[in-house]
Structures are given as structure tokens and as C-alpha cells.
Symmetry: C2
Subunit: 634 residues, 2 copies
Amino acid sequence: MIDNAIINDGFWNSIRDTVVKEGIPYQWKALNDQIPDAEPSHCIRNFRIAAGKESGGHGGYVFQDSDVAKWIEGAAYTLRWHPDPTLEDIIDEAIETVAAAQQPDGYLDTYYIINGLDKRWTDLRDNHELYCAGHLIEAAVAYYQVTGKRRLLDVALKLVDHILDTFGTDEGRLPGYPGHPIIEMALMRLYDITHDPRHLELARYFIDQRGQSPLYFEAEGRRNGKRFFWEDSPFRYKYYQAHMPVRQQTEAVGHAVRAVYLYSGMADVARATGDGELAEACRRLWRNITRRRMYITGAIGSSEYGESFTFDYDLPNDTIYGETCAAIGMVFFARRMLRLEKKGEYADTMERALYNGVISGMQLDGKRFFYVNPLEVIPEACALDYNKRHVKPERQKWFGCACCPPNIIRLLASLENYICDTDQDALYVHLYLGGKIEAGGLSLNIETRYPWEGSVRMTVNVSYPVSRDIALRIPGWCGKGEWKISVNGASADIRVEDGYAHLNREWRDGDEIRLELALRPRVIRANPRVREDSGKAALQYGPLVYCLEEADNGPALNAVRLASHLNAVAKWEPDLLGGIVALETDGLRERLEGWETLLYAEREPEVEPIRLHWVPYYAWANRGVGEMRVWVRL
Amino acid sequence: MIDNAIINDGFWNSIRDTVVKEGIPYQWKALNDQIPDAEPSHCIRNFRIAAGKESGGHGGYVFQDSDVAKWIEGAAYTLRWHPDPTLEDIIDEAIETVAAAQQPDGYLDTYYIINGLDKRWTDLRDNHELYCAGHLIEAAVAYYQVTGKRRLLDVALKLVDHILDTFGTDEGRLPGYPGHPIIEMALMRLYDITHDPRHLELARYFIDQRGQSPLYFEAEGRRNGKRFFWEDSPFRYKYYQAHMPVRQQTEAVGHAVRAVYLYSGMADVARATGDGELAEACRRLWRNITRRRMYITGAIGSSEYGESFTFDYDLPNDTIYGETCAAIGMVFFARRMLRLEKKGEYADTMERALYNGVISGMQLDGKRFFYVNPLEVIPEACALDYNKRHVKPERQKWFGCACCPPNIIRLLASLENYICDTDQDALYVHLYLGGKIEAGGLSLNIETRYPWEGSVRMTVNVSYPVSRDIALRIPGWCGKGEWKISVNGASADIRVEDGYAHLNREWRDGDEIRLELALRPRVIRANPRVREDSGKAALQYGPLVYCLEEADNGPALNAVRLASHLNAVAKWEPDLLGGIVALETDGLRERLEGWETLLYAEREPEVEPIRLHWVPYYAWANRGVGEMRVWVRL
């Protein structure tokens, strides 16, 4: 997958440039405790201590190792589209630091190497060794794929061999599985390059062993005599998606990041094994999320408590968790469902999360990050309402638990992997980015100003005529009759299937496909069961969800309503927020005057007409602290 | 005050009868640990242990003593309007049990008597000794006023002497004050009967010493080396309203019950001393609450965190705390402001809280109680949303921290004290209840079906003509031109001042005053700054706030809207919820059909007309578990 796309895109170039210019160097410093005003990460230092090169105790979280793995992975991806020998040297150095800590038997987790190997693998529920291993594998595969260098891959393979020796249902092995999934999809990425059936089998084992009775976590908890944090919670083992075997699960529950990481691994295994039952479980969970438990931005996780899913249609905008990592996990899950079966709804959700709830996590300059991505913010409430204490009105520099910044970077740096697929039938184009796709014997040059404009021009490059489908995704946000496709200027023969428009012909060099998608401000309503969005609407323009900010519209956005005739205008604003299409609509504002001494009264608030100014949600909070809301009253 | 009213009222008789039949006997059993399926109270047992009559440790909360005091107070009041020698014997027995635990120096708090007197008065911030003393004083005054018996009053006086010896700014005394106010207003009730200036002075001392720098609680905390629960909270000493001297305070902050108990004491002292500065502080805090921090039901406390006020216009309906005790505290505060100055707004709020947020705390049969009084309930959310875990969809039998049930009982049992006032100018009628008022040389027989009907007939009983004002409150919910008053069938000469219609004449025996208030369903809107009520309206009928319940209107009440033409009808329903005026209005319901597979879409939900059925808020949750909401979409 990694070799089939080059991105050169007006929208993404600037975002990805900040990854190279800001994210990667800043985070390398952070991992090395070189940011003066931030809490130390301890991450690199832990590896040096574990390798005996430095003395001291383990610092940071029990999963701190994963930070350097995520950084290596992200940095590795950037080398592909932004070669940088100096950075490559630094990565090599980081890899040596990691490798030096590996134990003779392959084990590698600094927390237990430093604190006592006798305790390793004794707290799978809470202590993240398999999670760290998963990230290490992902980093190793990425670096190998980009550079061809095996150093970290060999470390990962040795670690996997150790895990293979340790886990399983055979006598003498631990019938356990990770409290925080990721190793499942990591092993499947490893399997993609090794084709070693043991790697597939280990992924399948972790998935199918999960939630089996008697519950491993329960027995482990008894052995440890450790308090179970979720003992009296409605969660219990749902927090870990381990309350029942995954094939029986029908609802997305518990910690949202863990959930979608698990489901991603399930989708990988279902695809690789052709396991229809597992695929069906994935579909059920997918539908439960995307039809009942996902925000319009692709954010998931309705509650800070357990950073979790709650229940159907419970989607509060102001107390949301909506962790950046969880939206990233939605992209992972969607991408894998799309590899499992080519259906537009997966790409629709992938696009939804990517253009909204994922990139909202990073400041436009790449220097600050959101952990929580709310759809409604009152700065005063963040400070004074305990239920909103996790919601921040501005992005933060770094986090003690720094999962989101390196995660967003590794996703953005590997965006090439999300654009297209091929199978025996067709070349599928999922996302419309400027650049080049090479796959299935076809090369497509793509020019577009998407998502700001709806026109996509694709030029075929072939050495000899190629006869196969080119299947273009028709976005779910685009209505019937709102798109058209021409080939070489003439209307084309099109078969629409599962959200893709298939063009079947013998492609010749220079053939030009033009896709026109109608971009216009769209008034979106939520399912009437979504309490928090009742009587409200959101504005979308193409895949982008928009919001009102105090900077443009003043405070008390709750007192603002959409006019019944919107008179909506979309306008390219090159100097606003790095260049955006801003929207304007008519609205009404309830006058606050005259209510100073009244709290409740038998009278309607007076309204005055106003012009509302909307900006893309992802770009909010780049102009100081203020109110913001996505869902606006009708 | 206690001798000037007799209640014989269609609305209140049945509610007060449950107090006598259910509340008082049930709670006496509870105090004696005789409820089989409830957590033991330990309350009476603690006193027996403290008196050396039983052995064992202290059980329950550190403020458990207050429960029996509240019960004695409530039971005492009932003797006035429902004489019961058997109950009086039980109260005497309870008083002996309490008295037996009093120490030779007057000290009386079972927690420290049992756990070690050397520690007494060392943790005023958190350990409630002065709070328990306050309740004991209130009980003693009530029992003395009703029965003339001094036994408990003498205990209280001895305790107060001990407190007088202990506290103060003089050398050798503790310059402290209670973490939980109530003793201030209790001392003022004591002062009302003793006229002992030391009692007034002690109340004033507790009020003025509060929040003085250096902060007593801070020094005390250091001495105790105890962790300060609110150390890292935005509250800190605001939780206790001790962050600054009370005369400087302008915003109602912290624990809502503590706040309004404190302000009640402040209003008492301001009245008794004529202290204009203190009165002005009371007015400021009153305005802050009633104009910015109070629910339409009179509930206060926007957040479960610290059971507290939050910030201006922050009034979430579903995560509200709205403790019954806090609404009761609002009645206390309003009553005292009304004694300070005769202004209709105080009586309006007193009525608002009483008819809505207070009595909602008790089931119609008097057997179960709400601690938290939400304005919007989704039962599923109570179970699955951590932010709403304190909100219960049905009333509970008894609470580990049983502050609310005896508190509501002592208020209902003493309702006579809230109806009227006299001063040199007039007899003021604040609340319209059937019964008899005797005050200022006038006797009024009152007949009314208020709040179900708006007609009030008052017949004057005098032995000789009396020339003075009778001042009738014109409720704030009643618009200009919506009320009229006649005397002996003829229109009367009326001077309206501060919400009261003054009738000045020489009253003769048999004079009949008729007050007609227009009762009709009123559509109430909240101040546009109240985010949670934006785009919504509430229905009021007289002083009663109404709500929609699932029992009448089906689930998904968020999908229900008010029609633009209400076609509202009020109808007496003798068999519904103990007899109520139910309201019907036109509404619209968004159809849920057709959205099964959609979460977000560019289309409006279809609506169908429905007839909405409204019941008084106080009566909600008497027909099983279901959704409820007060603020309904427009």
C-alpha cells in the first residue's frame, strides 16, 4: 500500500508540512525531556536506564514506551515524502536506544525491565506491555517499509517470538490478551510483510481469546489482589471490551480508543482469513457506532468517565470526550472495513473523521494539540463546571499522557495509505487529494482543490492500454444528481455500486476523467433521537463540518439561531486560518437587553437579524479563547 | 409567629397529612434502625452510646445527630395542628435520650463524646458540631413554642452557654465558625424567645467572623495536618462561603445548602440589628441567586460537584443538583428577607420553591424522597451517564445522608409560619392557603382552592372595628390587569406597593375581601443567557411549574415541540395524582421512523401533531419510572 500514492495537495500539504517542521522535531525534544516548560516525558531516558546506560527509576506512565514507537513510525513515514538524512540518522539513533533495552529472550518493556522482570506479564489488564509491543511492531514495519532497514524489524520479530512463546491456551502459557488493544492490527501489518502464519494466528488468538469465560482479567485480578478500578461501575469488563467474546458483541462499549483499535484488528483478521462471522461482528459494531454513537465530526466517546462510549444516541456536545486518538481509531477502523469490502459508507466515515475530528486535534501551526474535541465550548464552563473540566478551550502544548500528538502525526504522515485500493475488479479512489496514484497497472495524476472546490481532474498515465474499472467514490454528503463524471469531455458510462461510480473502459495514456461534486452549504440535522442536537442544525460544506466561533459572531452563541432562509454564501478567504472557504448565512440573535433583572418571564426574547460567519470545525480555536458551537439552534 | 395561622387547605392538607401518617412514624423508626431494608441510621443509638447506656462506636455521618433534632422539630410542629399525645410521649422520650448525652459542661455531640472529647472543636471546617448544635436549638425552640415544655430548651441553652464560652475573638477562645451554617439562624430563633443579647451577638459573631483574614479554616487545617478536599478545586474556601467576609460577598458560591442557610442567618441578624450594610449584602446575594442562579422550580445548586452553585446563567436541567434541602433553604432565605422588608419578590420566590422544588422532594404518599430534583430525566442516562449518576428517576426510601426527608417534614409541618406577617402598617398576606390568620388585631378566615383556582375569599373577624392595612400579595406570575380585589362586593381603594395591594379601611366584622387572580397556562421563557433553556419554554399555571412525563406523552420527549398555537386547556382531574389541574396543549412530535439507519442527514425530520399532557412538576415520578422534562422545545 505504501508505494502507490504521492500527495501534492493544496489542503494537506500545509498541514503535513507542520508535521515535518514542528511536530517531529518538537516531539523528539519532548521524548528527550528537552522542553523547558513541559513535564518530562522520561521516555528515552527509560530506555537508557533499561539498557543500563543510565541509572534511575522508570518515569511517566506504564505505557510511556509507546511514545517513542509512535514517533519513530510517524517520522519514518515523513521520510517517504520528505527525505531528510539528518532525521533518518536521529531515527536510527532512537532505534538503537530502543534495541539496546531488549532482553536476551526478546522481551522489551522498560517499565518491567527497570522495576523487575519477575512481574512482567502479570497485569495485562492495566499495564500495557502488549500495547507497547503493538506500537513497536507498527514502528518497525513502517521504518522497514520506508527505508528497507531491518534493525527495528528484527527487534520486533524477536519480541513477537517471545510473545508467541508466552501466550496461548496451551498448558504453561498465559491465556491472556491485552487490556488495551493495538497489537492485533500491528501483528496484521507485520503479517502483511512477513506472511508468517504465526503472526496472523497470534492476532486471531488475541481477538478470539478476549472475553472468553472464565475471564482472564478476573483471574489475574484475583492473583494480583489489586483493586479493580471499575468494580462498582456499570462498565466492569466492558471498559476493555472483554465482557464477552468479541464475536458476540453488538454494541460499541467502554474506552473508545481501545474499542476501535480492537475492531480494527478484528477487521484485519476477518479480511485475511475470510472469516465471515468475524466480518459480521465488525459490521454490527460499525453500524452501532456510525448510526448511533458517533458525532458529526467523526468523534467518538461521549463521556469523560472511562473516556468511553455511553449509550445509543447519547451525544452531548459539551461534555463529550471525543479524544483525538479515538477519531484516529475511527479512521483505522474505517480503512480496514474498506479493505474488507468496498463500500462508500466506510470511506464516508473515514473522510468525516479525517477532515473534522482528527485534524481538529492539531493547531494550524502544528505546535499545540487537543486531547478532547468538543462540539460546543463555553470557556467559563471549562473553568467552573466540573463535568467539563476535561474540555479545554485552547490546545495544549504537550500532555503527561501524550498519546494524541504522536498519533495524529503518524496518521497525517501516512495519509498516502488511505487514498485508494485495488482489487481484481477495480482501482478504487476513496479520497480526493491532489497527487498521484499508482496501482493495478494504472497511474492517475490528480488535480483538485478539494475540499474547497468540488472539481477533481484525473489524468491517466499508462504505457499501454489497460482495461479495468476505475471506481470513484461518490461521497455520502453529495446528493443524487449532484455529481457528474466525464471522460475526455464526454459523459461516461457509469455503474454505481455501493457508493462508488465504476468507469469501465480501456484506459489509454492521457485519458482525462473529470469528477464534479456539488459543493454548497448543507443544513444537516441529527437523528431526532439525539437529544443534544434536537432543534438544532449543523452546517456542512463538502466533507467539512463548520462551526460558529465567538471571534466572528460574538459571545452567547446559544442565543443565536439560523434564519429560515439562510442566504448562504461560501467564500474563499485566503488570509483566514491558513486559507479556508468561509460560510456566511443569515441568522437571528436574541437580544439580551431587557432581561438583566429577569430570569424567567412570560415573554418572548426579541430577536434581531444578524449575518453569521462560519469556519471549518477543524480550524477552531486558532484565534484565541472563545465560545464555539457546531450545532446551532433553528 | 407560630400562633397566628391555622391551615385548612385543599392543597396542603393532603400533603401535610402524609407527614403525620407516614413521614413522622417512618422516620422515627429509621432513627431507631428499625427499617428492615434500609441502612441503619445509628442516630438514636449514638445518643445512647454517648450517654453510656449502650456500648459501641459512633455510626453514620459526623452530622448524624442532626437527624433526630430535625425529627423532633418536625414532629413538634405537627402537634400544633394535629395533637397526638402518643407522639408527644415519643418526642419526650427522644428528648430524654438526647439530654442524657449532654456533658456536664453543656457540650453535646455524640461523635466526639464517643470518639474522644479531646478532639472536640478541632475540625470546625468539616465536622459539623456547630451544625448539629444549630439543629438542636431549632428543635428546642419549636418544641418549647408548641408545648411550652422547657426540657430540650434548657439543654440547648446549656449547650449555647458552652459555645459562648468556647468561641470568640478574645484571648483563649476559638476564633472559628461553622463549616456548615445553620447555627446563625437557629440562634436568632432562640433570641426571638429569649431576647438574650448574647444569643444575638453570637449569631452576629459567627456571621462576621466568617472569611476574616487570616482564615480560621486554613490555620485549623494546618494544625490538623489533614488533607483539604478542595485544595486543588476552583472552590477552595468558596465551598464554605468562607473565602472572604460575608459583607463583601456578591455572588452565591459553593455548597448551595450551606450558602442559603448562611444568608438566612445574615438576613435575621440584619433585621434584628438594623444593620444596613448586612442587609445590602443579603440583597446582593438574593439578586445573584434569583436573577442568575436559580431554576424555575426554585431549585438551586447547578452541579453535583460540591452540591454547588456554579456561575451565572449556568442552569443545566439534567445534571442539576437541585437538592431538596437547598430549595428548602431558599424558602428560609426568602422568608427572612420578607421579614426584613415586605417585597413581593421574596414571597414570589418563596412560593416558587415551595410549590415546586420543595414538595417535588416527597412522593405523594409521603413514603419516598428525592435528594436531587432534576428538570429533565432520561432513566437510561441516570444509569449509564456518569455525569447524571446522582440523578434518580424515582424517589428513594431513605438516604445514608438523610438530610432531606426530615428537612422537608419540618418545613411542611411549620407552613403556618410562612403565610403572613404584620408590622406597624399592615397585615401582609404572603401565601394563599385556606385557613385562618390572626394577627395585628385582625382575624381573617380564608377560603380558596388555590393553586387550582385563582379565587381567594377572606372574611374579617373583629370584635371592634380595626383600622389598618390589609396587604395582599399580587403574585409576580400574575400580569397587570389580571387580578382584581373587591371588598364587600364593591371595587376597593387599592395602593399597590412592592408587590402588595394595600387595602386601607376600618375593618368591621364580616367584611369580605375577594381576590381574583387569573389562572391560565402561561408560556414561560428563560433569560436568553440560560443556555440550557434556549429555544425552549416551560408551562406555568399560577405558581405551579408543569412538566411532560413519559406516562402521558410517550418517550423521546426531546423530539416533542410546542405548537405555535397552543390551544391550551386546564382541566381539573380529581383522580389523577391525588387531584390536580392537568394542562393540555397542542404540540408536534418529530417522527423517529425513517431515521433508523441515519444519524446525520440533509433533511428535516417529519413532524406529526400531538396533544401534550402536562402535570404539575411536584407530582412527577409518582407513576413509575420514565422520562420527564420541564423545558420543552418551541
